[in-house]
């Protein structure tokens, strides 16, 4: 059966020939004969003996024979390139051999007999196969361990039915539109064998990993083939030639300010990173040919706008565009460089007219303008001008223009002008999706790799995943490419490892974003396990509240809870001054590492409906909102909504989406992710009820239930809002014992601050009791305590220090009259 398939493949004769005469041996022979010819000729000139000429003839004959052999082998090895219809036809007719690549044919020749496939022989052959070792490296599978596992599970004589694997491989290959059946397809079909699947499971490799690495290898091979085929028509005709710009006019002034993109790309190999972006080249071409020949390329910096334009420039240079666009010069100017050096608006307009006029007169120029919106701003400021009227005649002229701008720039200029929208075609470039970005990284990492540095596929995928999830202020592929470079640098300079793994990427992202993305380990594990205890070091009482919060956070970080919601969301209810804000600060310090990672909103400032614009931005003025801008800049932070009951209901509705889906779309159309934030809303609503129920001795559970019912009855919070929090945490009024503990903590903190001066305040039970009594009020809770300590005790110490009644090294006893004094 295998012989039938190999005959169908057309590679059987070649495989037999290669077994007879190894290509490497012939290649060495060829080198030998070539060197021998050169040596013989050299010896002739040195020794002046005709004998060497005769030897050189024989060696030359040998060289020619081996050369012809090598060319023949190369030709026979050429890859099949079947179109989808033909591929499907062969699969339907079960002529699987016609699908084989040469490599697969050779491997199966060595490992099959009749209708049986021998896995041991298969992997034995692959043990010396360069392509397979490349795949193992990219999958982070140590070769020695892998082959040891294989030898363990597959005995020498174990065979499996060949046709089963052939069918699986062919059908899977068909679904991904491969041009032939390769080794990667075969390995994927082998996953249906439990032993092989178990081995890969041990190495944490899944089918999609095999597929990604296989496709990566195919693309590499295709690129290498394209470079090797330098005599092909496609390669040879990738030139502009002499004299194409002799008919175009001189552009003396434009040359001072412009960059010639077509000259820049002339000798550059075609950028391959246009997966998914190739369509934009066609759109730009169509836009330049149709209508008035003006195009505006809109996209955020980093999505690949300039890459697309460079690729288009290369197509223009190589004559691969339609008629009139062929061989034109693409000159790029930047609005900033044009407007720089001009004192008045008129000077700027004259300069713009001069450059545009020159481009039009030249006749062979496509003008590319970076930051195009700066010329069309109806509210001119420094670096921006309103040249719309002046440029209108050029927009209606035959001059080809490509403008580049971002969403904001477009919306605030052309987006508001219907006449310009009619004249200019919009081409919107969006960021690459994760699969396209991964492919770009796979191709790009070749420029960073060296003999001593390699990226695994898992590391590249981790870069895409983490950048997509955690970096919001830059689009793909820019942010992923940045992290790719940073990771390479990190591994080269900070580690002795030469294989870039997912862990290295996590480390780089953690350093870059301050978000602890590394797997929960070490210090963070301890923090989460003992979170209640850590919080209790700062928070007095409120035991149940701290337990609720800690459980929710443990769920979040262990990966059990949904990844589409914030880390944690809590509604703190309770009277004022009982520790709600202090708990928030403690959480920020313990979990986020810094109290400054709190983004605080006083919701009493958002009582009007139009305050939404302040939160999520204004579509008219194109200004970002405070909430969304802060979260974009600091995706890993704690958002505190103080006095949340005072906010307008429409504003509370915004947070429904945040709490449910972990993201919010702002007024500028950007989707802002909240999945790395913690959201805490505080409210004093129901404080009286809490005091009443506590004094009645109602248990915590009942208290919470009655409180929530009360809040809903009063219309303060809607049920759908309350239900979306991970926990509604009730803070109880502080008991006198707790107040005394707080007073002790505050005095201890004061002593810590006085330690510099070697002064210590004697903290007596009487002192703390008095502080607890005087520092508490039903209205403000324990808040007055700090003010009391500051006004009375700290003032007393300060006065004593200045008047020298308190000296260094002294233990100070606070007189009771200090605290008894009336204001």
């Amino acid at each position: 059966m295998i012989q039938e398939y190999l005959k169908q493949s057309g590679y059987l004769a070649l495989i037999r020939l290669k077994r007879l005469i190894a290509p490497r041996v012939m290649a060495l022979l060829m080198l030998f004969f070539g060197a021998a010819v050169a040596l013989a000729v050299g010896c002739y000139f040195y020794f002046n003996s005709l004998n060497f000429i005769e030897w050189s003839k024989i060696f030359l004959a040998g060289f020619l024979i081996t050369l012809v052999y090598e060319l023949f082998i190369l030709n026979q090895q050429s890859e099949k390139n079947l179109d989808a219809a033909l591929f499907r036809n062969f699969v339907d007719q079960e002529e699987f051999g016609r699908l084989f690549s040469e490599h697969l044919a050779e491997v199966l020749y060595r490992s099959c007999d009749q209708d049986e496939f021998y896995p041991r022989a298969f992997f034995h052959f692959l043990a010396t196969d360069y392509d397979f070792h490349w795949q193992l490296l990219r999958l982070n599978i140590p070769a020695a361990q892998f082959f040891a596992e294989i030898n363990q599970v597959y005995p020498q004589d174990l065979s499996l039915p060949l046709s089963e694997f052939l069918r699986t491989a062919a059908s899977k290959s068909l679904t991904v539109n491969h041009a032939n059946l390769g080794l990667d397809d075969w390995l994927i079909s082998l996953l249906s064998n439990k032993n092989f699947a178990d081995i890969l499971f041990k190495f944490k490799v899944k089918e999609e990993d095999l597929r990604e690495v296989g496709d990566w290898q195919r693309r590499k091979a295709a690129m290498a083939r394209q470079i090797r085929d330098f005599l092909s028509r496609e390669n040879l005709l990738r030139i502009k030639g002499i004299g194409k710009d002799w008919s175009g006019g001189f552009t003396v002034n434009l040359d001072k300010y412009a960059r010639n993109i077509t000259r820049q790309v002339q000798y550059q190999q075609a950028p391959f990173h246009l997966y998914g972006h190739r369509q934009y080249i066609e759109l730009i071409e169509r836009g330049l040919l149709e209508g008035f020949g003006k195009v505006i390329v809109v996209g955020e910096p980093g999505v690949g706008r300039h890459t697309v334009i460079k690729a288009f420039a290369q197509a223009v240079n190589n004559g691969q565009t339609y008629g009139q666009l062929r061989y034109m010069r693409m000159l790029q100017i930047d609005s900033a460089s044009i407007l720089m050096g001009t004192a008045t608006a008129n000077e700027s307009l004259d300069k713009i007219r001069l450059l545009f006029g020159e481009a039009l007169a030249a006749g062979d120029v496509i003008l590319v303008i970076n930051n195009f919106d700066a010329f069309l701003d109806s509210k001119p400021e420094v670096g921006r001008i309103n040249a719309t009227e002046a440029l209108l005649s050029y927009f209606k002229s035959p001059l080809k223009i490509i403008g580049i701008t971002n969403q904001n720039g477009y919306a605030s200029t052309i987006g508001k002008n219907t006449e310009l929208q009619h004249l200019i075609t919009k081409v919107e470039i969006s960021e690459t999706d994760p699969s396209e970005t991964l492919v770009i990284l796979q191709d790009e990492c070749a420029t960073l790799e060296s003999k001593s540095l390699r990226f695994t596929n898992a590391a590249l995928r981790e870069i895409v995943n983490l950048c997509t999830k955690l970096i919001q202020n830059l689009p793909n592929p820019e942010k992923s490419l940045e992290v790719l470079e940073e990771t390479a640098l990190f591994v080269l300079t900070k580690t002795s490892n030469r294989l870039v793994l997912s862990e290295h990427v996590q480390k780089v992202i953690t350093l870059k974003t301050k978000i602890p993305v590394e797997k929960v380990a070490g210090a963070e594990k301890d923090i989460l396990l003992h979170l209640e205890n850590l919080l209790q070091e700062r928070i007095v009482g409120q035991q149940e509240a701290l337990v609720d919060i800690s459980n929710a956070l443990r769920r979040g970080r262990s990966g059990i809870s949904s990844e589409k919601r914030p880390i944690g969301s809590f509604l703190f209810l309770g009277p004022t001054g009982v520790g709600k804000t202090e708990t928030t600060k403690a959480l920020a310090a313990v979990y986020f590492g810094n109290e400054n990672r709190i983004i605080r909103f006083d919701m009493s400032e958002y009582q009007e409906v139009h305050a939404i614009n302040r939160m999520i931005g204004d579509a008219d003025t194109r200004e970002g909102g405070t909430l969304t801008e802060k979260v974009i800049e600091n995706p890993f932070s704690l958002i505190l909504l103080d006095e949340v009951e005072k906010a307008h209901p429409k504003i509370l509705d915004l947070f429904l989406q945040v709490l449910d889906e972990g993201h919010l779309t702002d007024a500028l159309g950007r989707q802002v992710s909240f999945v790395n934030t913690m959201l805490i809303a505080t409210s004093n609503a129901g404080a009286e009820l809490i005091r009443e129920l506590v004094s009645q001795g109602v248990d915590q559970h009942q208290l919470k239930t009655q409180l929530i019912e009360y809040l809903q009855r009063q219309g303060l919070f809607r049920p759908e809002f309350l239900n979306r929090f991970d926990a509604v945490v009730t803070f109880q009024p502080l008991s006198s014992a707790e107040l005394t503990v707080i007073a002790t903590l505050e005095m201890t903190d004061l002593n810590r601050r006085l330690a510099d001066k070697d002064i210590k305040i004697k903290i007596t039970p009487e002192l703390t009791q008095v502080l607890a009594q005087r520092g508490f009020s039903p209205e403000f809770g324990a808040r007055p305590l700090r003010r009391l300590i500051q006004d009375r005790i700290e003032s007393y110490i300060a006065q004593g220090l200045l008047s020298n009644t308190i000296k260094r090294g002294q233990e100070v006893e606070i007189p009771s009259e200090i605290l008894a004094k009336e204001d």
């Binding site: 004998n51 024989i58 004959a61 023949f72 026979q76 028509r233 030139i239 002499i242 002799w246 001189f250």
Partner: protein
């Protein structure tokens, strides 16, 4: 496709490679045509050099008109001179490529004879001391 390596070799040697040589020759001819812009320059042979011409302006003044006419003529002459030079070099290159392609085509067919001649001639004249 045949299974015999010999037949496949003969098919490759006497059919595939000669066709490939012709194809490569054709590719280079196209390359030279584009590199020297032969067609492109021919269509614009008398175009002014870099569009460097002056307008005749309003009104008719014989002296001014003559000067402008002469300058424009010079500009077209310069353009034509350069273009014709490049076209001629291009055509020469094309002819050279055609000659090399034919030579390569013929050489390939006689290569076995050449190899045999080299071996026999070498062995015959070799003096082994």
């Amino acid at each position: 496709m045949t299974d015999s390596i010999l037949l496949r070799f003969l098919g490759w040697y006497f059919a595939y490679v000669p066709l490939t040589i012709l194809q490569i020759g054709e590719n280079f001819i196209l390359w030279a045509w584009r590199f020297f812009s032969i067609g492109f320059l021919t269509m614009r042979i008398f175009a002014p050099w870099h569009k460097d011409i002056s307008s005749y302006g309003l009104g008719f003044d014989f002296e001014r008109w003559s000067k402008i006419f002469l300058w424009n003529l010079i500009s077209r002459f310069i353009g034509a001179l350069l273009r014709v030079s490049v076209i001629l070099i291009g055509i020469s290159t094309e002819l050279l490529i055609i000659a090399l392609t034919i030579a390569g085509f013929v050489l390939w067919f006689v290569l076995p004879l050449i190899i045999l001649a080299l071996i026999f001639s070498g062995l015959a004249n070799l003096k082994i001391a």
